[in-house]
Symmetry: C2
Subunit: 271 residues, 2 copies
C-alpha cells in the first residue's frame, strides 16, 4: 500500500529531490487499530526537520493524509517521507517549492520475543557517524552511514549495532537510540553533533522523569558504556530491548530497564 | 527525456533505496554531438563509488545504456543515477541486490560568458562539510549539505559558494572543485575527509602536469586561500571559472588559470 500526495501510487516522479539529493525527511510510525502511535512526537520532529531544512510543508495537510492512510492500513508500519518535491538540475531549492508526501505501508516487523525478554547482543560497528550539527537529531533522507553500518554484519546473533561518532563517543544504534543506567541514573547520549533523536527516546525520557528516575543527556564514552549497570536500546516499533552483550561486556536485564519496559508497553495498550 | 533501466520512464518505483536513504551515486555528464565528455573519468569514479558502497553495478551494461541515451540526447547534460535498487523497510542491503540505472537529460546550463572570461565572485557559505572519510570523494546521493549551502544565497552576483570542512579547512565549491596558484604551483584541497572528487579536477591536474606545471594536493587554510596568486573553480559542465572575489580579497585572472582554461577548452573540440 503506497500513496503519493494523497493518491494511491506505485511510482515517484523521477525529478523528485528526495531521490536526487536525499532532500527530505522521514518518519517510521507504528500503526495499531488504524491509529498512529506517538503521533504528536512524530509530527513535532517532522516539523522541526522541515524548519531546519526550510521545507514549507503543510503539517495539517500531512496529518490528514497520514490519518486516512493509517485508518486504511489498520495495523503495520507507516513510513512517511516528505521531500522538497520536484526540481530540475542543481542544488538550489526550487521556487515555488511544493513538498511531496509519500506514504508506504508494511507489516509490523516480527522480532523474536526474546529480544525484549532476554535482551540483545550489539554488533560493534566500525562505521562512524560524522559530526554535522546542522543535521544532527533530524531523521533526514541522507542515511548512507546507517546503510554502511548495517551492512557490517549478517549474523542474526546481533540484533542491533552500536554506532560511535568520529571522535569515538557512543551515540546510538543503527536504527535505535541507546540508554545506560549508571547508579540508578538514566543517561542517553547527546545528539547535538550527530544521531537521530528518536521519538521513543523522548517518550522514555519523559516516562522516566514522571516515574521519579533521574535522567541526564550528555557525552558517553565507550568506557562508560562498558561500566554501566544496565544498557538498553529503544525505537518506536519495538519499544525497549535490554542489551545483554557488547564485545566482552555482559549485562543482566536490570530493574530500571524492566520498569521502563512496563511503562512504555502501556503505550500500546493506551492506543 | 528520462530512462529507468534502459526504458523511457517518468517515474521511479517508490521503494527504491535511492529515495529512502540516498543509497546510490550519480554523475553529471556533458554531452556534445551525442558523445559523453570525460566518459572514462566518470565511469572510473562511479566504479570506485560502487566498490566503496558495495553496489554490484554492471558497469558495461551501464555504459551501453549511457551511450544509447547520449546518442539520443545529442547535446545537453546527462544525469546518471545508480541506486542500490528496490528494498523493503530497513537499512540492510537487499539480497539479491539489483541496482537501478536512472538517466535524465536536460539542456546545457546557460552560464554567462563573463563567468569564464572575467571570473566569478564566491559566496562564503557558513554550512560546513562534515568529515566522513568513508564517503569522501564520492558523488553519492546524500547531498543535504550542498542543498543547505546553496540555499544560503540568492543574489546572482555570486556564481558559486565556498565550502569549508568542520575544522575550517577550505574544501570546494557547492558544485565545483577549487584550485589555487601559489608561486607558480597549482594546489587543490585534499578530499580524504570530505568533498567530491570532480572529474574536471582530475583532468585539470593531469593537463597541468603534462604542461609542466607543478601540482600539489593537500590541506588548504582560508588564510592560504586569501594569500593565493590565482584562484579558480572547475567542473565538468563549465570547465574553469577564474575567481575574481571572495569577501575582501580580489584576484586578477592570472596566467596559469588562462593557460589551463585553454588546455581544458581543447577537451570540447576533441570530442
Amino acid at each position: 500500500m503506497s500513496w503519493v500526495d494523497g493518491q494511491p501510487a506505485e511510482g515517484l516522479p523521477i525529478h523528485d529531490r528526495g531521490l536526487a539529493y536525499g532532500d527530505g525527511l522521514f518518519e517510521t510510525i507504528k500503526v495499531v487499530g488504524g491509529q498512529p502511535e506517538l503521533l504528536d512526537r512524530h509530527l513535532q520532529r517532522l516539523t522541526r526537520g522541515c524548519q531546519r531544512l526550510a521545507i514549507p510543508c503543510d503539517i495539517d495537510l500531512l496529518n490528514n493524509n497520514l490519518s486516512a492512510f493509517c485508518a486504511e492500513l489498520g495495523r503495520g508500519v507507516a513510513k512517511l517521507i516528505v521531500s522538497r518535491g520536484e526540481g530540475r538540475r542543481g542544488y538550489a531549492p526550487p521556487i515555488p517549492c511544493r513538498p511531496r508526501i509519500v506514504l508506504t505501508g508494511s507489516p509490523l516487523p516480527d522480532y523474536p520475543n526474546a529480544h525484549a525478554e532476554q535482551g540483545v547482543r550489539l554488533f560493534p560497528c566500525t562505521t562512524r557517524l560524522a559530526e554535522q550539527p546542522i543535521l544532527a537529531g533530524l531523521k533526514h533522507l541522507n542515511r548512507l552511514e546507517q546503510v554502511l553500518a548495517r551492512a557490517e554484519w549478517q549474523d542474526s546473533v546481533f540484533a542491533e549495532g552500536l554506532m560511535r561518532d568520529s571522535s569515538g563517543r557512543v551515540i546510538e544504534g543503527v536504527f535505535s537510540n541507546l540508554f545506560i543506567v549508571d547508579s540508578d541514573r538514566l543517561m542517553t547520549p547527546s545528539l547535538e553533533r550527530c544521531g537521530v533523536a528518536g521519538v521513543m527516546r523522548e517518550e522514555v525520557l519523559e516516562r522516566a522523569q514522571q516515574a521519579g528516575v533521574s535522567t541526564h543527556i550528555g557525552d558517553l564514552s565507550l568506557d562508560q558504556l562498558h561500566r554501566a549497570d544496565e544498557v538498553f536500546m529503544c525505537n518506536s516499533l519495538y519499544g525497549i530491548w535490554p542489551v545483554r552483550q557488547l564485545d566482552a561486556s555482559v549485562w543482566p536485564v536490570g530493574p530500571v530497564t524492566r520498569k521502563l519496559q512496563c511503562l512504555v508497553n502501556d503505550l500500546s495498550s493506551n492506543t
